[in-house]
Subunit: 258 residues, 3 copies
């Protein structure tokens, strides 16, 4: 199985699929191809929240604003999973979570995919990453070192993308919006447990009901809830939280308890 | 085969796919994941117009504005098909059509999917419906009662979504816009046969040509035609009917014949 | 394998998939269903740039603004590939490239798909093309003539879509924008080799850096680069080239070298 994720939109992913299927009969599963454009941080979040649900697979993820520069192309093994993409941080949060949710300490290996004269400087998804994913699938996670153009590198030297922890103080907690989803829900880095004791919190100073479900408030009304990722979300029932709260990715969210 | 439909947009459907593929080797087919947001009525229409074309399958459909409330999670058997989703009406028009188009009177069974401590209150697609669809696929449509958390319920107690019939009178017919498609075509509940005898009808008072094809009128011009669903549609050749006719889902459409 | 491409957006492609899967167990691969609406020229471009990467397959492509008129429905064999869609030019650039990239001179055959009383005049994707693709897949590329409703026609009589060549003169080259991609990149018909010797060219009079990669210029800045299709593109790093250059599909692009 090969999963595919990108910010390519419409037709480009098909070229990647064609390249893979010319080299492999792997089952293909689309994760998403409309991830926020050139937004490594958002893509890293979504990959972390989706890839760990899959059975062992090769995960191809091409969100690659630095394509053609000297950023490395990499393949990361985590147990029976292989993640293929640019070394810009997009893969590591997913790799970390897959490792954490494994029963044992999974084997971790990192490889640089050596690139010689790709057909293009701007579409490594098609010319570098898709063939690498097909080859990794063909040979298996435990034999990546047999692929000649995969050169072992240090895991610790990989570019990371770290989501910050929120900061607690006497009367509240300060976090940030990790990502805004397609519904406009603002997903923060504040663990859901922080609000479970409250019926109401202040969000950046504004009193806001805490709800178990969207329907806990009237349609069009704001609430904070514990989203499917386990984090506090700033949402609107039948509406967009980002607009109602005036929040965007990276913005500070202060929850006040009093 | 498991088909998947939702209003989840970009990355959330992948978590459902991962959950299913961890439990099942079923073939997955995406119906659509950009159905109109939290619009049960539109989703019910689209499922009715697409699912009956499939061979026997498990159909997972998560358009679920009431997620986390006491609306039930259900699995419906219609012959060799199984529909899995919330009991908010979204499944029943498709179930009805599948039954109607079957050669025999198909077996109909309804089950409540009993939910205990899902991982989240807001993502039953991943935590409740996807596992249920995988289990239903694994055991087969004729053995759903062997799934322990599937509790038989009465079919007649299921929430329905009924599309109204239009009303005829002496000089015309009054219906409504069931749904607006992505092209802006306004699909009504008025059967196509009603306009086949005419070259021109009045749409809410405005004389409008009747065409067999979009190209029956100049580009940018309005027409009514019989759409692929067999209903009268208010369209524009190379344009958007909703804008040209000033129509939205649920609006009244009066066709005058004179 | 059957690939599917259309401009249908959300739910309509699922009806095509259902029809195919009712007649065939072919593997289905989505190319894209959000190709620019009713834009035969853009679709012809994207099919040419994606389908040749696939292994032998049946390629279903329904971008069909003339649906229901007397434009023909056709199936084109090119070696082991079969392309199915309307005879409006959308298939021929892809067919030409598949032929050109074949090792031998591939067999080319053209068939008109004879249509009798389709269920609808406006959804031949579901009622004409999907069944034809399933049948072509079932019988194989080398036996299309055994499908009764496939009537042999002359290849030379097929509607074509020809992308013009640019015109060189003493101090520059004049081409046009073939298509604007989802990123806003303006892909021209000017071969990339034309700019490889330069650090800077004039684009419609405006001096513009030539870059190997988007990151060759500051974020938000314009550049011309050689895109993944081998053509000169007018792009913006982390932005939209179409807006920055004021270009749309079909517009003239004059590159001045001095």
């Amino acid at each position: 199985m090969i999963t595919l994720a990108s910010d390519f939109g419409s037709a480009y992913p098909a070229a990647m699929k064609g390249v893979i299927l010319s080299k492999s009969d792997a089952r293909l599963v689309d994760v998403a191809h409309d991830l926020p454009r050139q937004n490594v941080r958002a893509a890293a979040f979504w990959l972390r929240e989706t890839l760990p649900y899959f059975p062992p697979a090769v995960h191809l993820a091409v969100i690659d604003p630095g394509v053609g520069t000297d950023r490395r192309a990499v393949a990361l093994r985590v147990g029976d999973h292989v993640l293929v993409g640019p070394d810009n941080g997009v893969l590591r949060p997913a790799a970390r979570r897959i490792a954490r949710e494994s029963d044992d300490e999974p084997t971790r290996e990192a490889y640089e995919i050596q690139v010689e004269n790709p057909d293009s400087m701007t579409f490594h998804g098609r010319d570098v990453f898709a063939p690498a994913a097909a080859d990794a699938h063909g040979i298996g996670a435990d034999a990546l070192d047999a692929i000649e153009r995969f050169a072992p590198i240090e895991w610790s030297g990989l570019t990371d993308c770290v989501f910050p922890d929120p900061e607690r103080d006497d009367d509240g907690i300060s976090g940030e919006v990790l990502v805004v989803d397609d519904f406009g829900n603002c997903i923060t880095n504040i663990p859901g447990n922080e609000i479970r004791a409250y019926d109401r919190v202040a969000v950046n100073g504004e009193p806001t009901p805490v709800g178990d479900t969207f329907e806990a408030v009237l349609r069009g009304s704001r609430l904070v809830t514990v989203g499917s990722h386990g984090y506090v979300e700033c949402d609107v029932n039948h509406g967009r939280g980002d607009e109602a709260f005036g929040l965007a990715q990276g913005d500070t969210v202060r929850l006040g308890f009093d």
